[in-house]
Symmetry: C2
């Protein structure tokens, strides 16, 4: 069965998204409009994205010193996406949007991520940049930069990292100075001249659109020639590749944002990844203001106030991270579907019982082998569990934005807590799913004639970008579980207890409710133990194993909640095979995966100091 | 520290290889000759292999319809290896060999596998083929085919799989018929005409040598036009690409072995992988005998008796599997060394304690972060543990071949038991090590500018070839633990008990001895539970989780045994940093890895039927 079926089930039967249409913002919507937008997305993804996923890998972006060349398919696909109005799906009608709930936006994006995550990269970054400008920009900035991004004319990037500063953004060295005495009088916002190098910039240069709107983190240099050290000194700027007037029309002037070169990647090759130099004088723009005497610097417009750059940027991070997790999930789903198809059609071997002894009997589809089923069930449990997590978190975004105010506060806190999991868990386990998909294909899976090796390569990025695993584990154990004296964790505990209460009405789920309750209790106790004494460095020693355990508990909880709904539908004579499959994937997760939690938490509970105790010279 | 140091420690301090020189076969050797051969190997690997490892990946083999093109570096490297006499390192003096113990042969091969596993592929296959001919061929066959392989003139392949028969060799369709009435009178062995397609043939075509000696599994067609079904019908043939006379001189005749095309792989790209057609008439050879009326068939010489093909081929499999495991191990070591170097030099972030709060303080090497140490320690524990396993198994090969006859029988049984682990465990965990090496590099690790992504791609093959994971798990639980009423498992238990007894003399190891004893007891009990009732299909339901647990117990045992020796050396004032590192890797393994065993064995102990219970329609 394809993922669409599961997506519909999770949206309708589990999350009951049609109830969102009772909210004023979504009042024009209905179950039918939700379905229609999924249908359109599925079709465009199938026709414009999926057929070219291998092509954009083999015909990697190239750079001739000036221009970046991409396959025509990338242009056609991103254009079809924009022309369907999907870039502004979640935005206000006033901005040309559809005012779709965020959970539906995530749902529609799933098709594109599964069809070709690398082609989708251009759109994902543009949408994220536009949303940031809409949320924090002035009306002029929205009109001049965000609107053309939403309607398809412009594209965007996020410029955070630098060659010497990846995970530690407080160490960025890009600087900005006011652009002349009238710098504060520009319609487009306080105008600066910006200089510095930005690394790992996806979609940093291409000809897919008239313009590229870079959102750049930089430090404002004070009159004393110094910058504020650390994160507090970081501000956020809009740096358009081509300058625009207050109405968003191109002035014909090229800004000083120059590509230096491409990063050649393991996977995700269709999304060009660049090193950019801002303000180094390759494209001198307007009258030089004498910045360092080496050219003018790139023209940049401040968003928000000086020093608020990280805050502004991270405002969008919950959503960006849900989408990174979703991307990992959908790569997992793509591999699951490919390997399921292969397992159903590839004939090899015979049953291991007595009936398999006859060598003249025809070979059987490999799906009949227990170990192939193991690998399929594991993929199903990982990918559908991860999809449930992505959708659940997206639903929390809607609760936070449009829900009952009292509940919205809880939703916001729970979302904060679950975001590191929504990003990291699919990145780790749907990558493992892709490895299992290769394994099912045997030697064929190791060739580029089948799609699964590419999924595996593409997916490996997701544990690295938008915050590496280690960073998220520190966010989770160092900050999220402690927020408001542990209230987020308590809210999670309450939701787990509610699932357990409902699930216990079904005899078939009682064993699992006990296992989940025990696992969550262990997790709570490990949390407390880690923080005994309150020393942050000690507490975070084992943050990654802690996060792995946390993730498995969360996914077990969601699987139990999905199973609870599944059992109800079974009683209402739904599609038996589909529903039994859900229950079986849940069963796999509880029997084969949840028991791992103890092994991860053991060192946490023992406050194990193996890592801090290791001397650098001993390696 | 480099792996050489660890290799020397494991060989000398742990396995005490110099005692082997008391055996007649190795009497000419000494600690000095052992060291000398390692030194030569390390140098050739460093000079001729390592510098070209990326090159053979990017300049992938190409095929113009007739010839396969490889980089010059591959020719130079394989030639340097052969010219140093290393191909025959383990063979008799009479064959031009060095009569090195197998453990030393494995040790010397480790350098090449780490430097460039793909360049090494040609040599590995040639050596395996030559060894098989030496073990099972006639004197004429040895002289004509094996000698030139050992001295560097010829190369070889192993042709087992077919497009429709990968893991299930009993279903191969390649056939052979006697070549004329005088077929039994050829000096080179009973001569047949052979037809069929062979898939996944590494080194199947190239110009690296005068000749390629294919070892081919095929079924002899009887006078009734039929073949014996199943594995019993399989025979083993020598099929030279160029025909030779009884002295191994080329006759100038091309045999009918034709390359159809290349497989384009995820990794391991430097080793060309081909689909070969035998006897399809592309190169008709000598007078056609009318085989099917479609050309003559390829000329093939039977090795051993008809129907003994699988037995003959698998005779070499223990050694081949140790070397596949070693290859996975050395890729892991390569990634460990690269990421250790990166972690020591890359500056990023500050300590998480109070001293890290000052953003103006310089950034610190990332090796100071606890989570980076976690990833380094995990790699160290996986890779050095796997290396210990490879060497231990190689040492068992020597025990079996040249040891005291009573002990040799035990060694042979233990080797049988450990072989599936020696192949599968490094394939799984040193791949995970490579993923951690990428993670330590962050975004840089995801680029092709650093070597780690290639190691990860290369290593992914090792869970697939030479028997996929699932096959080995069935071999382990279905056959090996039950051999001679469980005597192999009992021997392993005895060796573990002996390690525990010795380790308990050191207070610092007592906690680990308890953990290991408990884990092994759980494993024994899981073995018995799986086989309750004696139904093979039921027993093997959870064979992969069983094998994963088995592997972790074995590695824990070897780490404890290495640690025991380490503690002794510490008392003798050895290199403290080196020795502490060993103990710390052992500590990591016992605290973070061994606890996983319970989670894997739980479904085995519960005889969980989740996989067999899953209906195909439910996926």
């Amino acid at each position: 069965m394809t993922m669409r079926r599961t997506l519909d089930f999770l949206l309708n039967d589990w999350l009951d998204v049609s109830t969102l249409t009772t909210r004023p913002r979504f009042a024009d919507h209905s179950a039918e409009t939700f379905t229609a937008v999924l249908d359109v997305s599925e079709r465009i993804a199938r026709e414009k994205f999926a057929p070219y996923n291998r092509l954009v890998d083999t015909e990697e972006p190239s750079f001739d010193g000036t221009r970046v060349m991409l396959p025509q398919a990338t242009l056609d696909a991103t254009r079809a996406y924009a022309e369907a109005g999907l870039r502004s799906a979640g935005h206000d009608y006033a901005l040309g949007g559809m005012q779709l709930p965020y959970v539906m936006e995530v749902a529609l994006r799933s098709f594109f991520l599964q069809a070709s995550i690398a082609i989708d990269g251009y759109t994902m970054l543009t949408a994220a940049g536009a949303s940031l400008i809409v949320a924090h920009g002035t009306k002029h900035q929205i009109d001049a930069f965000a609107r053309p991004e939403l309607d398809g004319r412009f594209m965007g990037t996020m410029c955070l990292s630098e060659p010497q500063a990846g995970s530690s953004l407080s160490d960025i060295e890009t600087q900005a100075v006011p652009d002349g005495d009238d710098f504060a009088a520009d319609d487009l916002g306080p105008r600066y001249r910006l200089k510095g190098s930005k690394m790992w910039i996806s979609a940093g240069e291409h000809d897919l659109a008239q313009n590229i709107i870079h959102l750049v983190l930089a430090k404002i240099r004070g009159l004393d020639g110094k910058v504020v050290p650390g994160a507090k000194g970081i501000s956020l700027f809009i740096v358009p590749k081509m300058l625009v007037d207050a109405n968003g029309h191109l002035t014909g002037e090229r800004n000083d944002a120059a590509i230096v070169g491409l990063n050649h990647k393991l996977g995700y090759r269709g999304t060009v990844n660049t090193l950019l130099n801002f303000g180094e004088g390759k494209f001198p723009v307007r009258a030089p203001s004498g910045f360092d005497g080496r050219g003018a610097g790139a023209i940049a417009y401040l968003i928000g106030k000086p020093g608020e750059g990280l805050q502004r940027m991270f405002h969008m991070m919950n959503e960006a991270r849900i989408q990174v997790g979703l991307g990992a999930t959908m790569l997992g789903c793509a591999g699951y579907e490919a390997s399921l198809d292969y397992a159903q059609t590839r004939l090899q071997g015979r049953p291991s019982g007595p009936e398999g002894k006859d060598p003249t009997a025809p070979q059987r589809p490999i799906i009949e082998h227990a170990d192939v089923r193991r690998m399929l069930l594991a993929q199903k449990a990982y990918c559908e569990g991860a999809l449930a997590l992505s959708l659940y978190c997206a639903r929390l975004v809607d609760e936070k934005a449009t829900g009952d105010p009292v509940l919205a506060a809880d939703a916001a806190l729970l979302l904060e807590l679950l975001t590191p999991i929504a990003k990291s868990w699919p990145s780790e386990w749907c990558l493992e799913a892709n490895s299992l998909a290769i394994q099912i294909h045997g030697g064929y899976g190791y060739t580029r004639d089948f799609p699964v090796e590419q999924y595996w390569r593409d997916n490996r990025l997701n544990m690295i970008h938008e915050g590496a695993h280690g960073i998220h584990s520190q966010d989770l154990l160092g900050r999220k579980v402690r927020m408001e004296e542990g209230r987020a964790l308590a809210i999670l505990g309450g939701r787990i207890a509610e699932t357990v209460r409902l699930a216990r009405q079904h005899d078939v789920l009682i064993r699992d409710t006990d296992a989940l309750t025990t696992a969550f209790a262990t997790l709570q106790s490990a949390t407390a133990t880690a923080w005994e004494g309150g020393d942050r460095e000690v507490a975070l020693r084992n943050s990654v194993p802690y996060m792995q355990a946390f993730g498995h508990v969360v996914i077990a909880w969601l699987w139990l909640d999905v199973a609870r709904v599944t059992v109800e539908r079974l009683g209402q004579s739904g599609d038996i095979a589909f529903l039994r499959g859900k229950l079986h994937a849940k069963r796999y997760f509880f029997r084969y995966e949840l028991p791992r939690v103890d092994a991860w938490l053991k060192p946490v509970c023992e406050r194990d100091d193996t890592f801090s105790d290791m001397d650098t010279a001993w390696f």
